[in-house]
Symmetry: C2
């Protein structure tokens, strides 16, 4: 493991929002740039469901990060100006404590004995790290996808924690279509006999279930229009077709297969289940009894909300809802609705559209 | 089995479009109304992927059919005026020969030795039935969803077979998003160990795979907007939640679970695989080398194309493409784009919108 990844162990008992607790959980993170003497140039990035804290490369870890083109020197989140912290979500499997981590009480992985995870917990663990780093107020919290919900949870629970808020392709709470998608992904994993009620060995696991879940994920992360332009009805050449007549006819099938194979072994299945469910459970309305009451607990000077018109997982109407709801409590709310064709994942790939919007905000 | 269902056994060898043949396959069908002396009042309905030939009730089978409100006396397809024939697709499992039927050569079910099925085969088996019934030219062919593709295959391969054509929520060929969805459904079934390469016993089978495939089906058959109105974030009452924390939190999950359970045992898994792949493979462009060349082979006096704005499986742009493409060879093409919220399945449920359009066409 490179020295880029750092760890902070929370002292003592960490209470979980939906019951239960963790003993001295660890939060893994990476940083880039320097905290200035006024300690007011820190930006936190909460991630989507599956990335690690490695948002971008550094001398300590030169491998490209998941947001390489957005974070770095002279990039929209400029690490010459800002001290950037990317946090691996509590419950994940890239250094932070999650279902795959050993329970100090038993020495064995938590697996399904891990308490129900909520994004409020993820946010609170992040806030504890900031306190440890001596950062009282952030310049910005930035959150794409699930990370945007975590950003909202953080802003709502810790008033004044950040002057600015950047929410990308996210929502105040999941709609039933997205819940159904994620629920089916979880069921694909749980119904794989290799899941074994969560008790699979560390070097094996529900590979078939994870493959299927990843394929469904890709269908909802990307756009039908993009695939139409990219694949149309192109066939897989005969020599690449599997022996099984039902396996591969079309290029789009080969594309999904390649993505599914790449995902295998990268992500712990139990962690996936916990983070996926946390995304479904999150609801701004849990804070004050209604969406609007929840929004009024957010205090930020400037808010940037970015949505994509082809996103079916976090439809752009949900970003309009965020912008409208945050307009009351926050002074300056900008909404950017981008015509990207790559759907939900556009923030990872349609850099030509996202870069200028983010650059202008942070300029 | 009620006497409503009738069977026609094709004489001799039935050549399949993509290779192989069937020996004396059977086509199951139901009829309503009477063929008039001029023999020009017959309407054929080709079905979507999963229904039987029981489109509507009759004295012989009073159970409600899958299109009960559309077909019957005084209904839009009026059985007092028309002789209506609904055909169970070749390859299905409701009386017509399919992978679950015994291969006369072995006495054992075909299973995966069934030749690759194409919708052209389904159409040809239907046309053979019509010849047997002494019907040279139909009043109309009506096809929703996959049945619309079969209707196109029939019209293209048998010029002049029908004076009118009614295509509902269908397409000239599948787009990559729909292919990806169906491919994943097939993989869910194939990866279920109980599928056993297609050699499951008649009374068992890949129940888990079929459940998952049905749930994904429901997500693409219905609409995100409908679910938002219908379920929102309603929770399942505590007493109905399963013991497993990952099973059921939200009403939308319980709804999908109920639909999946209802589907189990109703449809043979191998038949599902064959019909699903046939839907992906169909392409009007296979007839003449291009979509437009394929369209020009359709000769019908009047064509009605109906699409639904919230359909993500057969998006309304595909119905616009059909209407535009058929305008050249056919004299009178009407396109109805309906604002139903129930997505692809609207033709089965949004009767208030579909009824008047169909009534006007058949008036």
């Amino acid at each position: 493991m490179s020295t880029a990844r750092q760890y902070f162990q929370l002292p003592g008992r960490f209470e979980m929002r939906r019951g239960g607790h963790l003993d001295r959980p660890v939060v893994a993170y990476e940083t880039w740039g320097q905290l200035n003497p006024a300690r007011d140039n820190a930006i936190v990035i909460f991630t989507g469901m599956s990335p690690s804290a490695h948002a971008t490369s550094s001398p300590e870890d030169p491998s490209p990060g998941w947001w390489e083109e957005i974070v770095g020197p002279s990039r929209p989140i400029d690490t010459r100006r800002f001290f950037v912290i990317c946090i691996n979500s509590l419950g994940s499997c890239f250094g932070s404590t999650g279902p795959a981590s050993p329970d100090p009480a038993t020495g064995q992985p938590y697996r399904t004995s891990f308490p129900v995870l909520s994004l409020e917990d993820v946010a609170n663990a992040g806030q504890a790290l900031l306190a440890h780093l001596g950062i009282g107020q952030l310049h910005s919290i930035v959150g794409p996808s699930m990370g945007g919900m975590t950003a909202l949870a953080c802003a709502i629970q810790h008033p004044g924690i950040s002057r600015h808020l950047v929410l990308l392709s996210t929502a105040a709470r999941a709609l039933p279509f997205s819940i159904a998608i994620r629920s089916l992904q979880r069921e694909m994993i749980r119904r794989d006999p290799a899941w074994a009620e969560g008790n699979y060995p560390a070097d094996a696991g529900p590979i078939t279930g994870m493959r299927l879940a990843r394929k469904l994920g890709m269908m909802t992360y990307r756009g039908a229009r993009e695939w139409e332009q990219r694949f149309g009805r192109e066939r897989v050449p005969g020599e690449r077709q599997a022996g099984n007549a039902f396996a591969l006819d079309f290029e789009v099938e080969a594309y999904l297969e390649a993505h599914a194979l790449k995902f295998i072994g990268q992500f712990d299945a139990n962690c996936y289940l916990y983070l996926s469910r946390a995304s479904d459970l999150f609801d701004v309305a849990d804070h004050g009894g209604s969406i609007q009451a929840g929004f009024t607990r957010v205090s930020a000077e400037r808010v940037l909300v970015i949505g994509v018109e082809t996103d079916i997982l976090f439809p752009v109407a949900q970003q309009r809802e965020l912008a409208a709801g945050l307009a009351a409590p926050c002074r300056d709310v900008q909404l950017a609705q981008l015509p990207s064709v790559q759907g939900h994942d556009s923030f990872l790939v349609d850099m030509d559209r996202f870069r200028p919007v983010l650059s202008a905000f942070f300029a």
